[in-house]
Amino acid sequence: MQQVFKKPAALKDVQTHFCPGCHHGTIHRLVAEALDEFGLQEKTIGVASVGCSVFLYHYFDIDVVEAPHGRAPAVATGVKRAKPESFVFTYQGDGDLAAIGTAEIIHAANRGEDITVIFVNNTTYGMTGGQMAPTTLLGQKTSTSPYGRRSEKEGFPIRVTEMLAGLDGVAFAARTSVDSPKNLMDAKRQIKKAFQYQVEGKGFSFVEVLSACPTNWGMNAVAANERVGSEMCEYFKLGVFKDTASL
């Protein structure tokens, strides 16, 4: 019988701990497929962050260092500088990257570190129980914005990809989503492009992936997935914001 679908080699044969309807598993798969396609698994050092994404090493069959909350881009900088021949990526959520780790991401990007950052934006702190994140949408209710996020008190959701695209050190920056087959295929393309930048030594590459957190949003998987495609995509526009080498 012909095998038409299989697990990427860069992923282990284990079940994830992610909630039903969570997109982490899907995004893990896209990243793993890209690693496979470039033949990078054996020279990759992943940098895990704090949040639901911390268990990177349980699912990926690659070397991993676990960074403190928000510090993954600094840790990745140290790894890449000490081992320039390795392929280095971080995998961070919105609380990790856009709140406590704002300084680290901006400066790693601005230095043009030869690393790739996968930024998973689900508009909430997932692991700690659905608190308000820097990317939480206006009016969105979370466990720490029970009346909905108000711009006058909590400010506006941060558009990280646009912000980073404005830095001269950034070679590639794109926002993608995994809510529909079409968007998912595009996300895969952009992740591969980001990896190619690093493979060719062309500098800092960044891919934001909009994703769902049904559990903390209080939605079922289908409704949560729909929210990504509607509300989130409306505020966080999909697209390639920087592509310096037009790869």
């Binding site: 698994q41 054996e42 020279k43 990759t44 050092i45 940098v47 895990a48 911390v54 090493y57 069959d61 690659i62 070397d63 991993v64 260092v65 676990e66 960074a67 403190p68 510090r71 600094a74 840790v75 990745a76 900088t77 140290g78 790894v79 890449k80 500088r81 000490a82 081992k83 390795s86 392929f87 300084a103 680290e104 901006i106 400066h107 230095r111």
Partner: protein, 337 residues
């Protein structure tokens, strides 16, 4: 210079007085040595870059002063948990908060008692001269690698900024355990993970016992100290780093007057030279501890001496213009003799 001789090629730091000579020197030297120097965006980023480089098995370091070390403590705790070797230099400032830039020893507790969270230790070494700064920096990298632990060199602006003759030398040959933990990309082999999160049943307790065993081994094997004129002393003066340096002059002056005074100077603060204090105070029952704070190391001295020994303390939480002088310390020696 000691770090470079020890094979350190990765330096990550952030400007803070009074240790700026270190990053400035490294920024000049590293490019020519095929190394990396980064002036990071923050103290926090700097120590996390050290973490990344150390995770690949490279010899890496950072340096800072008290306020910066406070910011680095999160990552230091992680690295203790991850068992990553590295060197952290603290050329400490005086006082809490912004304090001052003068010599002081207010950071003893922070360094020795695990200033960060979760109950860990790092090796802490307190050199008292330029030569020792050089020698101990090399030793620090060796200890870090052998025991897989962060090591701190704790100094202040006296040992950090003074100039003295230095005799450079090659680093001694040492046998190191294989770095079978260092990240390199699997290369088709087993996955390696450097982490400090342990959630399995009993996993974290077992990890903590392993760390504890390492700290005990350090205590047994790696404590270092200097003794000066202790054999017939009826009063032992003690202190570390710059305070001990000033105290040594006071002891010399006392000896010139025929007073039977000796000096016991801990070189490693963790592991603390418990053994030296215990054996000296089995005979000599009076100890005078001198520190540039209001009493920190004295707690460890009290725990280490023989039960019937008296421990006295003289401290100056020094700031601008208030370093004690040898003459002043000689007065204190006379008082307790």
């Amino acid at each position: 210079m000691g770090a470079i001789e020890a094979g350190c090629r990765y330096y990550f730091g952030y400007p803070i007085t009074p240790q700026n000579d270190i990053p400035e020197f490294m920024s000049r030297e590293m490019p020519g040595l095929n190394g990396e120097f980064i002036q990071a965006e923050s103290e926090i980023a700097a120590i996390n870059m050290v973490m990344g480089a150390a995770a690949t098995g490279a010899r890496a370091m950072t340096s800072s002063s008290g306020p910066g070390i406070s910011l680095k403590l999160e990552a230091i705790s992680y690295m203790a948990g991850m068992e990553l070797p590295c060197l952290i230099v603290n050329i400490s400032r005086s006082g809490p908060g912004l304090g001052g830039i003068d010599a002081s020893q207010g950071d003893y507790f922070q360094a020795v008692k695990g200033g960060g969270h979760g109950g860990y230790h790092m090796v802490v070494i307190a050199p008292a001269s330029i030569q020792e700064m050089y020698d101990m920096t090399m030793h620090a990298f060796d200890l870090a690698e052998i025991y897989r632990t962060p090591v701190m060199i704790l100094g202040d602006s006296v040992v950090g900024q003074m100039k003295e003759p230095l005799i450079p030398h090659r680093r001694p040959k040492t046998e190191f355990p294989a770095k079978d933990w260092a990240l390199r990309g699997t290369g088709g082999g087993e996955q390696r993970v450097v982490k400090s999160l342990f959630l399995g049943d009993g996993e974290l307790e077992a990890h903590n016992w392993k760390l504890h065993a390492k700290y005990q081994q350090l205590q047994e094997k790696e404590a270092r100290w200097e003794e000066y004129e202790t054999s017939d002393a009826t009063l032992i003066v003690t202190g570390f780093g710059s305070a001990a340096r000033i105290a040594k002059s006071a002891v010399m002056m006392a000896r010139e007057e025929g007073l039977k005074v000796g000096l016991l100077r801990p070189i490693t603060l963790f592991p603390f030279p418990v053994q030296a204090f215990a054996s000296l105070t089995a005979r000599c029952k009076k100890v005078l501890d001198i520190e540039l704070n209001t009493g920190q190391m004295v707690e460890d001295v009290r725990l280490s001496v023989a039960r019937d020994a008296e421990v006295h303390f003289y401290g100056r939480p020094s700031g601008t213009g208030s370093l004690p002088t040898p003459e002043e310390l000689l007065e204190q020696i006379r008082r307790y003799l």
